[in-house]
């Protein structure tokens, strides 16, 4: 991963100008001390800013914080968890942010704790991100030594499983149980860690909140669109010359973002946007779209976790989808039948089609099954996986028929574009 240099864009808020991890001195020199806001002022600022969650769900941050605040007792019994699980294999933006700007995230975490009334403050990361864990612990020590932090920030490390970053799974793990999702309601704001009202917030979102606390909602809205104000962190990879983490205002086009990542090595054919719960979109369809929610919705896509993978016609979309689908099928928590029985059945059938070992009826079966499993898990794992599959079956419909008849194509053996980590054992 490289720190891509900015090409004439002013939208650099979260990413540092120099690729050097920022210690507390540098952080304070750049931003000054963290302002103290009363809870209502802080949450009003979030509402006015229009900030939405950057962990994939795009939910209004102010609404989320207020829901927790309203459930908190007068002596402040809430729990705040910064979610740095980043279990999305093609995403690096949260780790990148925590490595270069840990204090901005920790500021946001403290703002959240002040606003909702939390005594217990946790940052949750994943075992395989051990460098991030070390950076975080160092940053927390720095703050404690400086006495800039009046509270204990606990670091919790969970398993690197795709669904272990889902907020009910995070709550479960921080409560001392396995990192598996739960049925909602109750939602974390109603009954979260140790049954207390809990805010689970992605770390990029917290960093934006820290900037809003300092510079205000109008400043935040000065870039981006009305519905998707501000900037977003993106992980750009695939057939681009300088893959890496970029920051862009939401009114930036996909094409311009790819240019900032060095441009495409070859002719772009398709883009995977949003991560493994995201969608495949034809390059010519998405190239001139801006990355704000309205623009992406108009072509059936979402920014999701900010993952943008560019592929040329020399990539086999069927084989890429096959590998990711098999990965997702192996990532279920094993709790809900439609997901832990359905996804492997679907992935296996898709694999047979991809390798030319299925009957034509398999395509109809895939469509029916993928509709059947949606909305039937405790979490959205089956829904997300099936949106990804549906976008592949639509965009690669002709390729899919070709694979059904002839098996692997001449691009199937190319270097894999989408990473699929080995599944770790255990859920603790």
């Amino acid at each position: 991963m490289s720190l891509s240099t900015d090409v004439g864009s002013t939208a650099r808020r979260l990413l540092p100008t120099r690729p050097v991890p920022e210690d507390l001195d540098a952080h304070l020199a750049g931003f000054g001390p963290r302002p103290r806001l009363d809870p209502d002022a802080m949450i009003d600022a979030l509402d006015d800013s229009g900030l939405r969650g950057r962990g994939g769900a795009d939910f209004p941050t102010g609404v989320k914080w207020r829901a927790v605040m309203d459930h908190t007792s007068r002596d402040g019994d809430a729990v705040v968890v910064a979610n740095a699980a980043e279990c999305e294999p093609a995403s690096f933006k949260d780790r990148f942010l925590l490595t270069y700007r840990p204090h901005l995230v920790l500021d946001g975490l403290e703002h959240a704790a002040d606003a909702v009334g939390a005594r217990r403050v946790v940052i949750y990361t994943t075992r395989s991100h051990s460098d991030v864990e070390a950076a975080l612990r160092a940053a927390i020590r720095e703050r404690r030594r400086r006495d800039d932090s009046d509270r204990f920030i606990d670091v919790q490390v969970g398993p690197n499983r795709y669904v272990a970053g889902e907020e009910t799974a995070v709550v479960s793990r921080v409560s001392g149980r396995l990192a598996k999702p739960k049925v909602v309601p109750p939602r974390p704001f109603q009954s979260g860690v140790d049954r207390l009202p809990t805010l689970v917030q992605n770390v990029e979102t917290l960093a934006h909140a820290a900037l809003i606390a300092r510079f205000g909602a109008p400043w935040f809205r000065s870039v981006g669109t009305q519905r998707s104000p501000g900037t977003a962190l993106l992980t750009v990879s695939g057939a681009v010359r300088t893959p890496g983490v970029l920051e862009a205002a939401s009114d930036t086009t996909v094409g311009a973002i790819v240019e900032r990542a060095g441009g495409v090595d070859g002719e772009p054919a398709m883009v995977l946007l949003g991560g493994y719960f995201g969608r495949w979109v034809a390059a010519d369809r998405i190239w001139n779209q801006t990355i704000d929610a309205d623009s992406l919705r108009s072509i059936g896509a979402t920014l999701g976790t900010g993952v943008l993978v560019v592929a040329t016609a020399a990539t086999c979309g069927i084989s890429e989808t096959d590998r990711v689908l098999t990965f997702l099928a192996g990532q279920t928590a094993g709790q809900c039948g439609p997901c832990h029985v359905g996804l492997p059945a679907i992935a296996e059938t898709f694999h047979k089609v991809a390798t030319g070992r299925a009957r034509p009826a398999a395509l109809d079966l895939l469509v029916r099954w993928s509709h059947d499993v949606r909305g039937r898990g405790a979490c959205r794992h089956p829904d997300g996986a099936m949106l990804f599959l549906a976008s592949a079956m639509e965009l690669f419909a002709a390729d899919l028929r070709h694979h059904l008849r002839h098996g692997l194509c001449r691009y199937s053996e190319q270097r894999a574009l989408l990473p699929v980590p080995a599944t770790e054992g255990g859920w603790w």
């Binding site: 909602v184 917030q201 039937r376 959205r380």
Partner: protein, 79 residues
Amino acid sequence: MRVRLRVDPIKCKAHGMCGELFPERIRMDDWGYPVIDSRALSDDVVEHARRAIVDCPRAALWVEPVDEPGARERPDDSD
């Protein structure tokens, strides 16, 4: 109060009893897990719904108010 039937997918272990007792609103998928019609229960089917709830060996079924704000409308993923 208008209510709809829900299944706890973690508790459900595909015994299939509910589909037998309440076929008007429950069908079984290819793996034996119930697919529940999420529309509000009308008076004529409430008794069948009640039997399905009471007889589920895993106690995995319940009814919730249709307008339950936390039900399924909101994205679950951590944001």
